[in-house]
Subunit: 328 residues, 2 copies
């Protein structure tokens, strides 16, 4: 991987590559060769499963462009990616990024990469390489997409996929900061087609809609490690596109279904603003947005009680959101 | 990974996911959980280096859209990705894909995925998961991007990065089929701004420009395996954005430079058509297009002689393209 692409203006590209090299160097990684290399220590694993995910920040980028704040987008998608593989029980190892733009904007690209590298240092996952592509004609003017692919590892016997879930198990939610990286096509439509704008303050809050929509995707790696270590977590669902029903159903074995205690937890205010301003039917709200729950863990009822009493205070606070029942 | 995304129309998406599952099932892989998992056998490696690459087909997609032929694009980018990591000496293990479109076109997406899966079977590298994103407002109407991230492995002591290259080493080229996946922004400009069109026959050929531009990116995995096994290859360069000078220079240690025997090999006819129709200066031709050389290997002169005499006939035929010299 080389951060070069045929389409990219070479001098702009060379300047940016020099900046990227500097940022990566500070974080202890390097651009690498045609492929990014990662030294994988096998001694800690008997049967390692590599777990990988690829995803983008979706149209959250369009909000970032509208309010010209891009530094969070890199962190958003890295956190999204870490959560995805951590939900399988994996520890993240390294990641790669792909940035494509209609026309290379050096500042935006550097800002995205800086965000990813900083967050990578925080979570001890290295940027091993990436690609920049300038694609006028494919992307709309001034638009861009940022894709991350992440690789992690889990011992095969510790892979988490929800297979042990059964009747009466408890669903624990962890609070999201907002939309995270899903539902932006709908949210943008609401803002653009109503009297609201990104600079409108959310009623009763000192945050405007733009900032609320850009609230960073939370990384739940520490919460997941705690759940694995002390609470024998049976299943983990990262709440992304498809909302709570769409994502929790993916980890529940056939024969069971979920009863959510809708309305029992506090949503970040941006959701109700979107609900009312857009007159969005509740079913669409639930299948599009995380509604304040960024991660769901399924626990045996005994462990669930323990979680509510003893979960470490420096981590996001878990709350009950529903239970597993036999399919009626 | 889930082949779901907030933006995607759910019923179209569900239908497509069912098709993807079927295609993956036939190829012996599955969609996986939040992350795609790959069982990694460590017993064959003392110090495994994971080698990864992420890249897209660039604006070759725009040619595919113009002539409505998409099945090759999936193979193109998979071959590109395999070559990238094979140039580090790595064997490919598995890959993930990310497809983003202005509006989900089920047939195009299925065609792209089918191409990747077929090619994955041919090269024994599994599709472990992917993501579909519908992003109107980010992508131009009817445009799409296809990104692949690939993971492979190499024993650390067998990692190839050109470090042993020295004066008088020989550069061996392997023939490309055409532009592969680079130079399409320039090529499209030439076609669109001249009297030519994608259906114009290339002079003296029975191929039209559209088909010549869509000629598939060749996969050089078998050639690279042969070079590793029998010719102690010192360096391998995949010729992508930046052309021969840009890519070969990446593997040559400081203190050395390359003398190319420009004009000593036969270019596919599409390059001369672009050169003449676009009145493209030769320097730009060389820094934009591969000009008929898809892969370059650097060999000791003795091994180079062997290659010309003994390289297996069923593989792409190597030819001399230049040499390494001390920096003047």
């Amino acid at each position: 991987m080389d951060y070069r692409s045929a389409g990219v203006n070479i001098s702009k590209n060379d300047r940016l590559i020099a900046r990227i090299k500097k940022m990566m160097g500070k974080a202890g990684s390097s651009i690498g060769h045609f492929g990014g290399a990662f030294s994988f220590s096998t001694k800690d694993y008997k049967e390692p499963l590599l777990v990988s995910s690829i995803d983008s920040a979706g149209t959250k980028t369009a909000v970032a462009i509208a309010v010209n704040k891009h530094d969070g987008i890199g962190r958003d998608i890295l956190h999204h990616s870490i959560n995805d593989i951590a939900c399988c029980g994996a520890e993240p190892l390294y990641f790669l990024d792909y940035i494509a733009m209609s026309n290379l904007d050096e500042e935006i690209a550097a800002s995205l990469i800086q965000g990813m590298i900083e967050s990578g240092q925080r979570w001890d996952v290295k940027l091993a390489g990436g690609e920049l592509a300038e694609m006028p004609g494919v992307y709309q003017q001034n638009e861009y997409d940022l894709v991350i692919s992440i690789n992690g590892v889990v011992e095969k016997s510790e892979y988490i996929n929800g297979s042990g879930i059964k009747n009466d198990d408890i669903l624990i939610g962890f609070p999201s900061a907002g939309l995270h990286t899903n539902g932006y096509s709908l949210a943008r439509k609401v803002v653009e087609q109503t009297e609201y704008s990104y600079s409108t303050l959310i009623p009763g809050q000192d945050t405007n809609i733009g900032d609320a929509l850009l609230a960073e995707h939370r990384c739940y790696l520490d919460e997941i490690r705690e759940l694995k270590q002390n609470y024998r977590v049976k299943g983990l669902a990262h709440i992304t596109g498809g909302g709570l029903p769409g994502n929790v159903s993916r980890i529940v074995p056939s024969g069971f279904e979920i009863e959510f205690d809708w309305g029992s937890w506090i949503e970040p205010p941006v959701f109700n603003l979107l609900r009312e301003a857009g007159e969005i039917p509740e079913d669409d709200m639930r299948s599009t947005f995380n509604l304040g729950v960024g991660l769901v863990a399924v626990l045996n009822p005994d462990f669930a009680k323990e979680v509510f009493n003893n979960f470490p205070k420096h981590l996001y606070k878990p709350f009950a959101i529903g239970r597993v029942v036999n399919k009626g």
